[in-house]
Symmetry: C2
Subunit: 300 residues, 2 copies
């Protein structure tokens, strides 16, 4: 583990990737409070919401109100998901300074999810990325299904590498590699990251794991050993009730931070405040926290 980074930046995706996959609707005021609480933990990157059409993601239909309502702390980044120019316009109207675009490494997933091939989805981003560049807006790129696809099964590594390389070439400052369905194990995660890192600089890569099969922390450890230093996670493991059958929540930020601090890796995050926020969110979602460290630390 000699290659472990000294510091890791957590990209907190609970308010977006978490809430958009929860059945329970959270009020606009609570979404704002969530982001503000997360800011108070010391997180540097908080994905605040999504400007995808409310037709597709009703949970985040109030994106503009949420973004306008949060208190942005200087130095903290608040990216929002943007699918196209219309979403970009809505985001910019409320002062968004960083966006995220998304596509999958799996052709089958892209077809089913956004009714477009990978190349068509990349073409749709081109004007958004051109405008972002002109406006000085930073763009993060997501590649999903990097370790498996619910429709096509195996996803060729070459496809993951190609999509990551294209997004980076189009101007994304960071590419988040997502195991959307959580099927990956550490050896495969490591091999995937190494393959991408051969074509995109490692310091422009992030990893994004879901804990569907309980593998997320082990996968993150394997990727830290390769040298990645940006990790996506969601407070309280938001994004799928951990007690529902087939749940597939994001890895819990509390569990990630607990591991990183135990490894002597700095995050700048106050774990106690994060745990408190996780329990607060779980209360709003009407369930227990999906974070094991969160549960353990709440009673210790």
């Amino acid at each position: 583990m000699s290659a472990l980074p000294a510091r890791v930046r957590i990209v907190e995706v609970g308010p977006r990737d978490g809430l958009q996959n929860e059945k329970t609707m959270v009020s606009t005021a609570d979404k704002i409070e969530l982001v503000d609480r997360l800011t108070a933990t010391g997180l540097q990157s908080i994905e605040a919401t999504s400007f995808v059409s409310p037709k597709w993601i009703p949970q985040l239909a109030d994106a503009a109100e949420v973004f306008a309502g949060i208190t942005r702390k200087p130095g903290v980044h608040y990216p929002v998901l943007v699918p196209n120019e219309k979403g970009y316009d809505r985001a910019r109207e409320v002062g968004v300074e960083e966006i995220a675009v998304f596509t999958a490494a799996s052709e089958a997933f892209n077809q089913r999810n956004i009714n477009a091939s990978i190349d068509e989805s990349l073409a749709r981003f081109a004007p958004v990325l051109a405008r972002a560049r002109a406006d000085g807006v930073r763009v993060r790129g997501y590649v999903s299904t990097v370790l498996g696809c619910p429709y096509q099964g195996e996803v060729p590594l070459a496809d993951v590498v190609r999509v990551a390389r294209e997004l980076h070439g189009m101007g994304c400052y960071e590419i988040s590699l997502g195991d959307t369905i959580g099927v990956g194990t550490p050896g495969k995660a490591r091999a995937m990251l190494q393959a991408v890192a051969a074509e995109v600089p490692l310091d422009a890569l992030a990893v994004h794991f879901h804990d569907t099969y309980g593998q997320a922390l082990a996968n993150i450890l394997a990727c830290l050993e390769v040298g990645v230093s940006v990790v996506d996670s969601a407070v309280s493991g938001a994004g799928g009730c951990p007690y529902a059958k087939g749940a597939s929540g994001n890895v819990a930020s509390e569990d990630v931070v607990y591991m990183l601090h135990g490894l002597g890796i700095e995050t700048g995050v106050d774990l106690a405040r994060l745990v408190e926020t996780g329990h607060w969110l779980a209360g709003r979602l009407g369930r227990e926290t999906g974070s094991r460290a969160g549960r353990a630390l709440a009673v210790s």
Copy 2:
């Protein structure tokens, strides 16, 4: 990850370390069925029960009936926990051929848990180990609290090493190093294992993690990288309801096997049958399985 072993032996501790820590009492018939189901998965080591006094562990008061009732498959080991000569006698009466003894690396934990110092507890085992040797009975040794203690906090590595060395010297063929309260993180787990392996052969060591803070699989991965090839785990994550506050169940065997198979490591275990057994046990315990892989695979 070049040092990963090609094959790992799982020591299934659900029927003992799992059930003794569950609030729900399981019937004798169900305990027998559990062990028989586990045998059918291909597991090679199944800790069947405990001959600790029923005064202390009422959940396993039927140890003799359980052991007498299971169908022992040739080549599979069925160790049972034995605290003293009286327990040894009870175990031998029903044909036990392998036992496990236990002590802690923490003085404070030993005092509170068994009202004896570490040295006193080792002295208590001496006659049991002498008789086991004479009878041709294999003995496994547990060292608990190797990464932290609920009473004294930090546990010096030197204490872990000393206790492991003594148990090995007294004739234990294998020493299981247990993070009883689940506080460990991968770097500490690795350092602990390396320290012990400097004085006890690595192939006589096993690791035993609880998933209290969600760290178990990452810790196991770190220990596999050191070269350990024996891992304790409990089907369904038995040993503390995963939905209760401060739960501290064993790492789920299903999650471990899923990871190992994903890493290309053989276990000889049929994961589908293990998942089925985990759901069956959860039903008997009146709760959902504590295994994430178990939940995911049950619906896929």
